[in-house]
Amino acid sequence: MTELQAREPLIFELSKPGRQAGTQFPPPVDGSAQIPAHLRRATPPALPEVSELQTVRHFTRLSQMNFSIDTHFYPLGSCTMKYNPKACNSFAMLPEFLGRHPLGPEPQGFLACMYELQEMLQEITGMQSVSLTPMAGAQGEFAGVAMIRAYHRARNDLGRTEIIVPQAAHGTNPATAAMCGCTVKEIPCDVDGNVDIDALKAAVSPATAAIMLTNPSTLGVFERKITEVARIVHEAGGLLYYDGANLNAILGKVRPGDMGFDVIHMNLHKTFSTPHGGGGPGSGAVGVGARLRPFLPIPIVGKDGARYRWLTERDLPQTIGRLSGFMGNAGVNLRAYVYMRLLGRDGMVRVAEFAALNANYLMKRLQAAGFEAAYPSRRASHEFIITLKRENRMYQVTAMDVAKRLLDYGFHAPTTYFPLLVPECLLIEPTETEAKEDLDRFCDAMIAIRREMEQDPEKLSSAPHTMPVRRLDDVRAAKQLDLAWKPAA
C-alpha cells in the first residue's frame, strides 16, 4: 500500500537490545541461580526485543497480508473453506475451558460436550464408536490403518500388509499406509472417475489389509459402485477405510457406515468448520464399526451413570494406544461441537445440499463460459474439476497462471495440480456458505481471465500483480535454503 515500505520487516529487524514489553514480565527473581553452572545458558537466545506496540503492529500488519475466509472467497478444493462461525471460537474460549489442566479432575461440563459430540458423529457416519483423539485428518488415517492392522493381527491374519488406494487419493493416504508399515498398491480410475473395478479385483489378495477411499472422491464425483467395491474388498478379507475429507458433500444424505466402510476419519476442520488457522490445528476424529471398536485410540469419553470419564487402556485393553500427550485437540473438538449444535439435524443436511447446489451451479456456469469440466457427464459433488489442458495447448497458460491471476481479481485460487491424474486442473469447492453473487463474481473473473489468455497471456504468466509480492522463486527457495533469520555475527 505504501511507497517506502513495500514489505513488513522481520520482527528481528525491529528488535533492539534492552527493549521490552515489560508489562508482560513477572518481577525478576533469582530463581535460576539454582541451576548448576554447567547446565546454565551462557548467552540469551536471540529472540526479538520489541515493545508491545511493535508486536501488535507487526503481527496485525502481517495478518493483513493474508487471504482468508473472513476476507475472500476461497474455493480451495478438498479443503472445505467455509465460514467459521465466530460463536464457535467465543464459546470454546470461555475461561473455565481454557484454564483446565488436562490431568486434573475430569471436567464434567467439558466431557458432556465431548460425549455428545462422539454420539453425533457416530450417528451421522453410521458408525458404532468414535474417538476424538486424532489431531488432524492424517492422524485419523493413521489411527484407522493402525486399527486395521491390529484387527488382522488380533485374528492372527498376519500377512495383510497391503493398502489399496486409488490413483486420485490424497497424499496422506499412501503416506499413512507407509507410517503403519504397509505397502501401497495404487489402482486406476475409469474415465468417469469411478474406481476401475477390474483393477480392484486384480489388486485384492490375501495380502490386502484394506482399501482407502474417499467418496465422493477427490475427483469430485460419487463412487457409484461403492457397494460392489465393498463386497470385493470384504470378500478378499480386507477392510474399508473412508477418508472423511469430503464428508461435507454427503452429510445426512448417505452414511459411510451404510456404504460398507469399517472405519472413517473426519476432518472436523473441514466438514464441521473449525478454523484452518493458516495450517491447523484440525481434528481427525475416527469412527469405527463393531469389528474395530476394541482397537480405538485412547482416551475416549465414557459415561458411568451420570458421570463422564475418560476411558483408557484399562477399559480398552486392545487399543492401538495413545496418539497425543493428552486427549487430542480438545479445543478444536469443542468448536466442532458448538457448530453441530448450531446446525442441528436439518442444518447438517442443508450443508450437503447447498454445497452440492453451489458446486453444480458453478460448474455449469464455467462450462457455459467455455471451460472444460474433467467429468462433464457426472454430477459435481461439493467440488468439481476444471481442466485447462486445452488452454494450455492454445495459449501456453498453465493452471498455476490462472490461479495466480485469480488472486489479482480478489479470489483465492482453487486447488491446483491435485488430483495429480488430471492435467492442468483446478479443483473448485465453493462450499455452502457462499452466496450466489459471489459465485457469479468468480465466474466473471474467470471469463475476464479467459479473455486475457487470448489478448494478453503475459498478464497471466506474470501474475500476480497486486499482491505484497510478485510470483516467488520456489527453486531458489529450495536451493539457497534460508530457513531462519540469523543474528549478524
Binding site: F12, R41, A87, A136, Q139, G321, S324, N329, L483, A484
Partner: protein, 462 residues
C-alpha cells in the same frame, strides 16, 4: 437457515442453470438403497441458546487453582497474543499454499522457525507438529532414517522421560518396527545416570532420547549424556521445555567434549508453554529442530525466504519434496494439517517476552516451585523425593496414598498435582507438583494450609 445465504429465488435460478428440478436431484447418483433417513441428532439451537448451554457447562467445571504441570504448563498469556491470533486473517486462512496471498502467515512461520532455532541452538526448525508427544514419535522415526551409521531400529528411552510420550511414541512408531529400550533412573537423584547407559556402549542403537528437565522436573546431566551418545554414534534426541531454554543450556550446545560434533541432533518438545492455554489438553503444538544436515529427513512443513521476480524478498513453503502431497508413500511423515494457529500464538508470545521476559518466567517459576516444595514439605508426612537440581516441577512423597488427598484438595478448589502411583509404583505415594509464575505466595500458602488440614484430619480419622 444456519449459515446458508441462499434465498428461494437464488435456489430456483441456480437449479434452472443446472437443469434439474430440485436440490434432491443433485444426489441422484447415490444409490437409493444407501440413502439416509432422518438423522437422530438434536435439532438446531440458536447461538444464544448454545451460548447459554456452554456457559453453564463451563460453570460446572469452575476455575480451580492448578498445581499440575506434567507436560502442560499454566503461564500468563499476554492479552495481545490471542487478540491477534484470532484475527480472521490468521484464524480463517488455509495452509499457505498460495504463497503470494499468504505472506502474513508465511513470514510469521519463518519468524517462528527462527525463534525455535534461537531457543534450541539448532539450525533449522519445521513449522510445527501436532504436539510434544507425537513430535517425539516423529523424531524417533526421523532419527532412524537419519542415522546412517546405524542399521538398528532400537532407541533408548529413559523412564525419567515423560511416560505418556513413551506410550505415544510406541503407538505411532510400533508398526514400523521401532523398539524402545527403557533406561532406568537413580532413585536418589531422580536422574538418568551415565552408568545406566554404559551397558549399551558399543551396541548398534539408532537414537537416545533425553528429556531436560525430565518428567520429575530434575535437570539431567546432559553434557555427559550427549558425549556418550556421540561417542557411540547414537543420534541424540532432546525433549525440552521451551520456557526452560531461556535459562538452560540449549540442546545445540550439549556436550562437554571439544569434538566438532556436539549437541543434540534432533530437538523436539511441547510448545504449549509459549502462550497456549491449558484448555483441557489441546490444541497445543509440537516443535522440532535439527541440524541443517538432517533437514531433508525432517517431517512437517518448512518455510523458506526467497525472492519474487522483481527481487523482493518473500516467503514460501519449501522442501515440499519431503511431504506426503509430493512424495506420497515415500514422504518423511503423513502429517499435513499441523498446528499453525498455535504457532501464531507462540510467535507473538515469544516476541512479547523476548529473551528477558522468558528468562523471568523461567526464573519465577523455578522460584515458585522451590517455595512450594519448602512450604509443602513442612507439612508432616510430606517429603521430597529427589536430590537433583530442578526446574519448575518436583516429586513429593507422602506418607499415605495420594488419590484421596487430591480428591479432598479438589473439593477445596485446588488441583494439587499428579498422582504417580500408577506409572511409578516404585516411588511409593508420589505426587508431582508444579508452580509457575502464575502462583502467588498466597496461593502456595493456601495449598499448604489445605494440605496440612487434610493430612491432619485424615490422620485423625485413621
Amino acid at each position: 437457515m444456519a449459515f446458508i445465504p441462499h434465498t428461494p429465488d437464488d435456489v430456483a435460478g441456480m437449479l434452472a442453470v443446472i437443469g434439474v428440478q430440485s436440490i434432491e436431484d443433485l444426489f441422484d447418483e447415490i444409490p437409493r438403497e444407501l440413502r439416509t433417513g432422518k438423522l437422530a441428532v438434536p435439532p438446531a439451537m440458536a447461538e444464544m441458546d448454545v451460548g447459554r448451554l456452554l456457559t453453564e457447562r463451563a460453570a460446572l467445571d469452575g476455575r480451580p487453582m492448578n498445581f499440575i504441570g506434567a507436560g502442560a504448563y499454566e503461564h500468563h498469556i499476554p492479552a495481545p497474543v490471542w487478540a491477534i491470533t484470532t484475527r480472521g486473517e490468521f484464524y480463517s486462512a488455509y495452509t499457505p499454499y498460495q504463497a503470494e496471498a499468504s505472506q502474513g502467515t508465511l513470514q510469521l512461520i519463518y519468524e517462528y522457525q527462527s525463534m525455535i532455532c534461537a531457543l534450541t541452538g539448532m539450525e533449522v526448525s519445521n513449522a510445527s507438529l501436532y504436539d510434544g508427544a507425537s513430535a517425539l514419535a516423529e523424531a524417533c522415526l526421523m532419527a532412524v532414517r537419519a542415522n546412517r551409521a546405524s542399521n538398528s531400529r532400537r532407541i533408548l528411552l529413559p523412564r525419567a522421560a515423560n511416560p505418556i510420550y513413551a506410550q505415544v511414541a510406541q503407538s505411532i512408531t510400533g508398526n514400523q518396527g521401532i523398539v524402545f529400550e527403557s533406561v532406568d533412573f537413580d532413585p536418589v537423584s531422580g536422574l538418568t545416570l551415565l552408568e545406566y547407559l554404559q551397558p549399551y556402549s558399543g551396541q548398534d542403537i539408532a537414537a537416545l532420547v533425553v528429556q531436560q528437565p525430565n518428567f520429575f522436573g530434575n535437570l539431567e546431566e546432559v553434557d555427559q549424556i550427549a558425549d556418550w551418545a556421540h561417542q557411540n554414534k547414537i543420534l541424540l534426541i532432546a525433549v525440552v521445555n521451551p520456557t526452560s531454554l531461556a535459562v538452560l543450556k540449549p540442546p545445540g550446545q550439549w556436550g562437554a567434549s571439544t569434538d566438532a560434533v556436539r549437541g543434540a541432533d534432533i530437538v523436539c518438545g511441547e510448545g504449549q508453554p509459549l502462550g497456549v492455554p491449558l484448555a483441557a489438553g489441546g490444541p497445543y503444538f509440537g516443535f522440532m529442530a535439527t541440524r541443517m544436515q538432517y533437514v531433508r529427513q525432517m517431517p512437517g512443513r518448512i518455510v523458506g525466504r526467497t525472492m519474487d521476480v522483481e527481487g523482493r524478498p518473500g516467503f514460501s513453503l519449501t522442501l515440499q519434496a519431503r511431504e506426503q502431497h509430493i512424495r506420497r508413500s515415500k514422504a518423511t511423515s503423513n502429517i499435513c494439517t499441523n498446528q499453525g494457529l498455535m504457532v501464531t500464538a507462540a510467535t507473538i508470545y515469544m516476541s512479547l517476552m523476548g529473551p528477558t521476559g522468558l528468562a523471568r518466567v523461567a526464573a519465577a517459576s523455578m522460584q515458585r516451585t522451590a517455595d512450594l516444595v519448602t512450604r509443602l514439605t513442612r507439612v508432616a508426612g510430606v517429603k521430597q523425593a529427589f536430590t537433583a537440581a530442578r526446574f519448575h516441577e518436583a516429586v513429593l512423597i507422602l506418607d499415605r496414598p495420594v488419590a484421596p488427598i487430591l480428591a479432598a484438595l479438589a473439593r477445596r478448589g485446588i488441583v494439587g498435582g499428579l498422582d504417580l502411583a500408577e506409572r511409578y509404583p516404585e516411588l511409593g505415594h508420589a505426587l508431582l507438583v508444579c508452580a509457575t509464575e502464575t502462583k502467588l505466595a498466597a496461593d502456595i500458602d493456601a495449598y499448604a494450609g489445605a494440605l496440612a488440614d487434610i493430612m491432619n484430619s485424615s490422620r485423625a480419622a485413621a
